[in-house]
Amino acid sequence: MSDWFAQYNYIVVIILMMTGLYIVFSSRNLIKKLAGLSVFQTSLFLLYITIGKVSGGQPPILLEDKSYGKDGGGQSLLSGPVEVAAGDAAFILPGPGSDVLYSNPLPHVLILTAIVVGVATLSIGLALTVRIREVYHTIEEDEIEAADFVYNLEGTAD
């Protein structure tokens, strides 16, 4: 079943991306444009995270090796709690001996910061929209262009 869907995520991401782009291109309302831009941006995040997925993997938070103080059968050799200094815990890494797999952390890091930067830039766009609305009393691009056209005619007449 997974063979059929090997490229499914990419196809959906492309559809979503193009939908976002279409909203940006086709709508004349500035806030709707920004919503489309945000859809476009989130679809890009989906692409990165899809690439970073490792099948059978788990989140890139290293598991601690809890096998110290135990014998082969998992029985604890100590009666009390084991004291381990901070930073001394061994981590389970993927490799020949272990059956643990982690997903790729690098795309996660890139996208994590991109999300927060995305909301910061979105707010700049919204602030510009608010200012445009205060001056032109509309956020429809057509009406803004018409107002500019009329204004330029009047401006040159003086």
């Binding site: 938070i61 994590l112 927060v116 707010s123 602030a127 608010v130």
Partner: protein
């Protein structure tokens, strides 16, 4: 039937206010958990900053912007925005002074791994302060703007 106004006063949002008063400290506490547990579980400065800002934004939504500005004064924002960036960059400069590379925290302690821990803690604190104050600043900026159309025009 008894008059609800006599029972609960004129405030129609009393339930909202009571629950929010209970929730807002928990949200702020959760933000600090996310911040300082970010080394061990999912979380970090970016998420904690946004959650902390969300607690102030919730306060502003429920109790009004003037009350929120008393709780989190706008003048803190100017200092906070810069303080976070300076804390981040300053950590790098301290590494310079201690004879290492910019933002290589290994020389902050005798043990390189412990130095990395301290460095990550300082840097994440800088991220927290900047993200929190910027998000609150953006919300204050939008919230204080006078809308041109009244609520009846919706």
């Amino acid at each position: 039937m008894s008059d609800p106004e006599a029972k609960f006063g004129r405030d129609p949002h009393v339930l909202l206010r009571v629950i929010a008063k209970f929730l807002i400290p928990l949200i702020a506490l959760f933000a600090f958990y996310v911040q300082f547990h970010g080394d061990y579980g999912p979380g970090g400065g970016f998420q904690a900053g946004v959650i902390l800002a969300a607690s102030v934004i919730l306060y502003a939504l429920i109790f009004g912007l003037t009350e929120a500005k008393k709780a989190f004064p706008p003048r803190l924002i100017r200092y906070g925005m810069t303080l976070g960036v300076v804390l981040y960059g300053g950590t790098g400069v301290v590494n310079f002074i201690l004879g290492g590379e910019f933002l290589n925290y290994s020389n902050l302690a005798s043990d390189p791994a412990a130095g990395q821990h301290y460095g990550i803690l300082a840097v994440e604190l800088g991220v927290l302060i900047t993200v929190t104050t910027v998000m609150i600043a953006i919300f204050y900026a939008f919230g204080s703007r006078q809308p041109e159309t009244s609520n009846e025009d919706w």
